[in-house]
């Protein structure tokens, strides 16, 4: 059975076929764009920080005891806490820092290169003790890690050693080696010398500076409290999580502790995207079901309406397979028409969405996949009614209704 007469017959019942084609077109547009959004969100969610997120615990310590008014006491407590945390069974490393991964923010500043003109570079800035790299599981790529001598440098001094992330180094010194170079923040008198370059580093921020970071070897503790990042040995996270509070309370009990795993923080950070992904998945599934039901409904209706015609065709020599083929070809033509329009619609919808959501571009692979999916969906939905059509007895042709 060729396409010609099927096509000519369809032209005489345009309304219903246009309906199905429009439905297919819109479905293709919606599904491909939804998949685009989902893939983008998933890529965003799967983006690695460069840290061993799954082994990390954030420990916030908030002091209320009077004793913390004394700066010297704060210093001793921080040292004692550091020692206690590092010695806890199951702990691989711990660092006194105010950096928290996956919080969706942090602290940042604008730096200028010494002797590099007025150009300013915005970067995330964090204080940390030398344990930070081992704690995060970040590699030193060039130079050296910060060490105890950097950490204990005179806070009144005018030069400090710092480590910067690889991307920040490349941004500041695209041509040269960043090691040994120095920069300053607003005050040209205080300069910071790059002694180490680390990577990978990614921490999402309100501004596009997720890959740029400077770690200063300084304390961030004051009378109100301080923070640690603790890295547990593989499989020891829960145990470590349970034992931290006891160990720290033993040092000073006049403070409150807030513990959260970095995995938990990360989940929270991504929960908006997560909800969107789930909702879009739901929408897509329901949409495909609705479209399939629509095709089944209209094809069934067509079959019922054309029973006599089918009987006649059978009487004139059509086999059951011929009848099934007829409906499949008819549907395939409609779907094909729909997907052609749908591709244009998908592109239009995409450019509309791009004004709202950044970066949700439509890859051609998704379109190809969508077209294939709708072809299959169309054929699948038609098969049932088509098989029912094939069961119409040829004797129906002779019945006078």
């Amino acid at each position: 059975m060729e396409i010609g007469p099927i096509w000519r017959a369809m032209k005489r019942r345009k309304a219903r076929f246009i309906l199905v084609a429009a439905e297919v077109a819109l479905t293709l547009a919606i599904v491909t764009n939804a998949v685009g959004l989902i893939l983008d969100a998933q890529q965003e969610m799967n983006r690695p920080s460069g840290f061993v997120d799954e082994h990390l615990i954030r420990v916030d310590i908030n002091n209320y005891g009077q004793a913390f008014e004394d700066e010297e006491y704060v210093r001793t407590v921080v040292d004692a806490d550091t020692e206690a945390l590092r010695n806890l069974p199951g702990v691989l490393a711990a660092s006194h820092t105010h950096f928290v991964p996956w919080r969706g923010g942090g602290s940042s500043g604008e730096l200028q290169i010494n002797g590099g003109g007025p150009k300013k570079y915005r970067t995330q800035t964090y204080s940390a003790d030398p344990g930070i790299f081992e704690t995060l599981g970040v590699e030193i790529l060039e130079g050296r890690a910060l060490d105890a001598t950097d950490f204990t440098a005179d806070p009144e001094g005018d030069q400090f050693n710092v480590a910067v992330s690889r991307d920040l180094a490349a941004l500041m010194f695209p041509e040269e080696d960043a090691l040994g170079k120095s920069f300053f923040f607003s005050d040209p008198e205080t300069s910071f010398v790059i002694v180490g370059i680390f990577g990978d580093f990614f921490n999402p921020y309100g501004w596009p500076i997720g890959e740029y970071a400077v770690f200063f070897p300084t304390r961030s503790a004051d009378s109100s409290g301080h923070r640690f990042l603790v890295r547990a040995e593989p499989g020891q996270l829960d145990e470590v999580f349970g034992s931290i509070e006891g160990a720290l309370t033993a040092i000073d009990s006049e403070r409150a502790f807030a513990l959260r795993t970095v995995t938990d923080i990360k989940t929270g950070y991504h929960s908006g995207s997560q909800v969107m992904v789930k909702n879009l998945n739901l929408l897509m599934i329901v949409l495909l079901v609705v479209t399939a039901l629509g095709i089944i409904g209209l094809t069934s209706f067509s079959v019922t309406e054309r029973r006599r015609q089918i009987g006649t065709r059978r009487a004139l020599g059509a086999t059951k397979a011929d009848i099934v083929r007829y409906f499949l070809i008819e549907n395939w033509l409609v779907t094909t028409f729909g997907v052609v329009v749908g591709i244009l619609l998908a592109a239009a919808l995409n450019s509309l969405l791009l004004t709202v959501v950044a970066g949700a571009t439509l890859a051609w692979e998704i379109l190809v996949g969508g077209v294939a999916l709708l072809w299959l969906l169309g054929l699948g939905a038609t098969l049932g009614p088509a098989l029912r059509a094939a069961r119409v007895p040829p004797a129906l042709a002779t019945q006078n209704v």
């Binding site: 309304a15 219903r16 309906l19 199905v20 429009a22 439905e23 819109l26 547009a29 919606i30 764009n33 959004l37 969100a41 908030n62 209320y64 923010g105 604008e110 007025p118 300013k120 915005r122 923040f185 607003s186 005050d187 501004w207 109100s224 409150a256 807030a258 929270g268 929960s271 908006g272 995207s273 997560q274 909800v275 969107m276 789930k278 909702n279 879009l280 739901l282 929408l283 329901v286 949409l287 079901v289 609705v290 479209t291 039901l293 629509g294 409904g297 209209l298 069934s300 209706f301 019922t304 309406e305 006599r308 919808l349 509309l352 969405l353 709202v356 959501v357 950044a358 949700a360 209704v401």
Partner: protein, 441 residues
Amino acid sequence: MLRYNVWLAWKSVRRTSKLSALIILGIALGVGISTAAIGLYRFFSGDPIPHKSDVLYSVRIDSWDPEARAPHTGGIPTQLTYRDTQAMLASDIPSHRAAMFKSDLYIFPQEADQRPFLETVRVTSSDFFTLFDVPFAYGGPWNRQADAQVEAVAVIDQELNDRLFGGGDSVGKTFRIVQQEFRVIGVIDTWRPKVKYYDMTQSPFMPLEHVFIPFSHLEPMELRTSGNSDGWQSNPTEGTFGDQLQISETCFIQMWVQLDDKETLASFQSFVDAYTNEQRKLGRLERPNDNRLTTVVDLMKEWEAVPEQASAMAALAILFLVVCSLNLIGLFLGKFLARAPIVGIRRALGASRRSIFIQHIVESELIGLLGGTLGLGLAALQLRWMESQLQRQVGIDGFFDLDGQIVLVALMLSLISGLVAGIYPAWRICRIAPAQHLKMQ
């Protein structure tokens, strides 16, 4: 006649129960999913204080680095410095004005056995409560005198009231914040704007604070913000906390004023501009004047308070509803045309085209309403499901509850899709010639 039509429609729905159920399910799914998405969008984008959003203005001053534009969305800092805030608070032009920031502070309950706990405190002016129409269960806000004299008074919400005092009228009772003893002056009744519009600097959906204390405590208590603070200069380190505050260029304070008409708006704008011109002469605020008074709704737009995902989902969901309507047109077409012989008889018996048309539109609207009601249930379920996933972000129970407007939206959607889907099939069927189907097939 309408009753007869509704009766005919109901009979037809019952007779073709399988197909009708399919159609109703189709409408329900379409209306459900799009209502949920539109509802979500509206939760995020709706005017949180519609009766006075046109007179509430946030105050912003471009106090950023003379050499560089501020990196914030609007191109100017989102918040004010302490000294600029002081100048703004001094103006009598606005009928109400409030400066504010939040600070994480320890609260010490009076009961000795209760451990102190960390609480986010909003440090603000007395006008906060009148500006934002905060309802009180007991007592009321402090007055401007309390602001000026740094009185140790606090407004708390029901939740903290329960926690500290076991609920009830706690006006006059005391509790300690850090070192300072505070007296409860008012207890807030249930108050939960969907968007935390008075402070969107971190996220428009942060939980509201449970304690409010006068702004003037900032200096003596040496309070620090736990919200965003943006600076382009290192903080001063010399001198007392107060001295540092007076010269700091760090922006951390949100400022709101109520300007009741166009004239007040204009005169306050010129007041702010005059202030910045003045400061420029003194060697500060070297950037050209870019001082902005922005309404709640405009600020939400500027800061893109609606998560981009919510907008994208709303757009897709509306298209989804279109697909469902197309689908319904097909199903109605099938349902109605299957009945063509009967309609032929009706026409032969004298039914007019109009009455046949109306009969079928009534039927599709009836089905639309049934589907819409079911869809509303589905939407409620879906929103509940989203809420359970966003608990941490939203932090408010019942954030996604259906309200009257959403119910209205859903019913409108179902009536519209019933109508859109019914019109063409009803038109087709009413054009059936009276005898056409009596003769053959």
